[in-house]
């Protein structure tokens, strides 16, 4: 008989999230990505509180200025401060990214869990997913922008309407990867002993899903959430760049980049700032997702 080396655990059990954090910390790129993303979010949302120039304030005498202390990023062709416009545009772009990601995530997890958990729904829901995957998404998004812009503008006002339109169209066209991953995981989980045990003591289906299934598929959902933000921001910027996004006086990063291409020869730096902002945000989110994937995978953890 071997003695238990330590019959009474002297340390309190570590929570799962502490382990995840430890693993996450060891991924340097992910840590930097997370910090950068946090910084960008703070800058675009809290920045306007500290920078008193308005994004829409026109000062025609100070137009086309280079970087100075009064205007660190310079001014545009109407004398509007580029830093203020970058922050306002960033707030819109990041909000669109986050909201569209949440919508896609909700749709994707809902359909994935339903398809994985209920055998009857599996066939139809997965065919639906395949159908959506076969749709040409960018052309369809463009068509949706064209068609529903007017009615929604009339109903909610030009800014609110286009925001709702962009978020919904990006959301309903990007839930499919999440649904597939979640379904696969749910299918595997459903056969595990703890689910059978829970069922044997009479747990209802809704209880099983919320208490036992959902917490266990949280990690793939979180990873696809981070990647979803990246795709949503890129899609929104592409739409704005093609001239089918937000209205001209309402800055987003894509729109700023699109407007700046007219002055490419004279003021190339105006293209640089918004493009850099988009790329850095997406890069940081991608690294964050990479790190999360490693940190949430218990097979990698502790190595």
């Amino acid at each position: 008989m071997t003695e238990l080396s330590n019959p009474v655990p002297s340390k309190p059990p570590r929570s799962q999230w502490l382990d995840v954090w430890d693993q996450f910390k060891s991924h340097r790129g992910a840590l930097m990505g997370g910090a950068l993303f946090l910084f960008i979010i703070l800058a675009v949302y809290l920045g306007p509180l500290f920078w008193e120039l308005e994004a829409t304030q026109i000062d025609i005498r100070a137009r086309n200025q280079g970087p100075s202390w009064a205007h660190p990023f310079g001014t545009d062709q109407l004398g509007r401060d580029m830093l203020a416009r970058m922050m306002a545009g960033g707030a819109t772009s990041v909000s669109v990214g986050l909201t569209a990601m949440l919508l896609a995530l909700f749709l994707g997890s809902f359909i994935g869990v339903m398809a994985g958990f209920f055998k009857k729904l599996d066939g139809p829901l997965m065919r639906l997913t395949d159908l959506f995957l076969a749709l040409p998404l960018l052309p369809l998004l463009l068509v949706m922008m064209l068609l529903f812009r007017e009615p929604l503008n009339a109903a909610f006002g030009p800014e609110q309407g286009i925001f709702i339109l962009i978020v919904i169209s990006i959301g309903v066209t990007s839930w499919m990867p999440t649904a597939r991953i979640v379904r696969g995981d749910v299918l595997a989980l459903k056969e595990r002993e703890f689910v059978m045990a829970a069922r044997s003591i009479g747990t209802t289906n809704s209880g099983l899903i919320t208490r036992h299934i959902l917490p266990n598929v949280l990690s793939p959902i979180m990873v696809s959430a981070t990647l979803g933000i990246a795709t949503a921001i890129i899609t929104e910027s592409s739409l704005s760049f093609l001239g089918l996004g937000f209205p001209p006086d309402f800055p987003t990063w894509g729109r700023l980049l699109f407007d700046a291409t007219d002055y490419l020869q004279q003021h190339p730096e105006r293209v640089f700032w918004p493009g850099m902002a988009i790329s850095l945000t997406v890069l940081s989110v991608n690294y964050l997702g990479d790190g999360l994937r490693d940190a949430l995978d218990p097979r990698i953890r502790g190595r």
């Binding site: 395949d130 159908l131 995957l133 076969a134 749709l135 040409p136 998404l137 960018l138 052309p139 369809l140 463009l142 068509v143 949706m144 064209l146 068609l147 529903f148 007017e150 009615p151 990246a230 890129i234 910027s237 592409s238 760049f241 093609l242 001239g243 089918l244 894509g254 980049l257 699109f258 291409t261 490419l264 020869q265 190339p268 293209v271 640089f272 493009g275 850099m276 988009i278 790329s279 850095l280 997406v282 890069l283 991608n286 690294y287 990479d290």
Partner: protein, 335 residues
């Protein structure tokens, strides 16, 4: 294998029909009026006749049926006519663009070579760059080359084509003046100088597209090589005394290529979607630009046909990828 292919082909028909219905219904909701450009001096009854001439008078389901007949029955006949010089489609109504009042397919056929030329070259260049990078960074995992490769492909993922495209225009055409910023599709290659010019104008769009494809492909290649490098058969091959080159480039590479080939096939339709933006940046008048122009001009038959062509490409290449997977990997049998 053959039965699987046939079954998938048959299954693709309802899928495509459903997609075309979705696109049609979406466009049906369009608030735009195709008669908006007609001058106000034209009397109302003439306008009504013009509307009927565009085929707008009939109810929705009849128009959908007509589009289906035109696309799937009359357009193939036109194709046969053009190839063999027959007269099957004489006098039959084709899908007509509202913008130019000429058949949509004729315009598409005019535009496709430009897109194929740029996109195809970009794809080939990307494959040629990505595969060696993927192989080497898997073979030397966590070396500085691998770290660099990871970083570059992350950048390739993150920099959208409308930024990288504009950036290379700023650097190489505005500042340095090496390459033209606008792709001239009327350019004819008939001499050495013309060929050099063609090369110059292709470099930037091809490189912008290739950066994105390379990023994805090299990641896939690396992951797939890593899966195989630790397998038992690799140890066996080494134990037999095979040279390192043969082990990696013959044994491991062959097995790792299976998923990569399918990814290459799957990526082809999405490249057409990505090319929409690149074509817009470099003013290549391919099908992507045609679509944007049609959307802005409210040209519904054109939008419907082009979107459907994209859908056909996606379904077709999904099928090809599945079949390829079955052919290449003997462990996978669909029957």
């Amino acid at each position: 294998m053959l039965t699987f292919t046939i079954r998938r082909l048959i299954l693709a028909v309802p899928t495509l029909l459903f997609i075309s219905l979705v696109i049609f219904l979406l466009l049906e909701l369009a608030p735009g009026d195709p008669m908006a450009q007609v001058p106000l001096t034209v009397p109302a009854e003439v306008k009504e006749k013009m509307r009927l001439a565009l085929g707008l008078g009939e109810p929705m389901h009849i128009r959908f049926w007509k589009w289906l007949v035109q696309f799937f029955w009359i357009e193939p006949q036109v194709l046969i006519d053009n190839i063999f010089g027959t007269g099957l489609a004489d006098g039959k109504l084709r899908v007509i663009s509202w913008q130019t009042r000429s058949p949509v397919m004729d315009i598409v056929v005019q535009r496709i070579p430009q897109t194929l030329w740029v996109v195809g070259t970009a794809y080939v260049v990307a494959i040629l760059i990505a595969l060696p990078i993927g192989i080497y960074s898997a073979y030397r995992q966590y070396s500085w080359f691998d770290q660099m490769g990871t970083f570059v492909s992350m950048v390739g993922f993150s920099v959208p084509p409308f930024f990288s495209g504009v950036l290379v225009i700023v650097i190489f055409s505005v500042q340095l003046g090496w390459f033209p910023s606008i792709y001239d599709t009327t350019h004819v290659v008939d001499s050495w100088d013309a060929f050099v010019y063609q090369l110059k104008q292709m470099i930037m769009p091809v490189m912008v597209l290739a950066l994105q494809i390379t990023a994805q492909l090299s990641r896939f290649m690396r992951a797939s090589m890593l899966d195989n490098l630790n397998q038992d058969y690799v140890r066996t091959a080494r134990a037999k005394g095979l040279s390192e080159y043969v082990v990696v480039m013959v044994h491991v590479l062959r097995n790792s290529m299976i998923p990569v080939v399918t990814v290459i096939a799957l990526g082809i339709p999405s490249i057409f979607g990505g090319a929409i933006i690149t074509e817009q940046v470099f003013k290549v008048n391919g099908i992507g630009q045609l679509l944007i122009g049609a959307i802005q001009a409210n040209d519904l038959p054109m939008v419907q046909t082009l979107t459907f062509i994209f859908a056909v490409l996606i379904v077709l290449f999904n099928l090809i990828a599945d079949v390829l997977y079955g052919i290449l990997d003997p462990r996978i049998r669909y029957d």
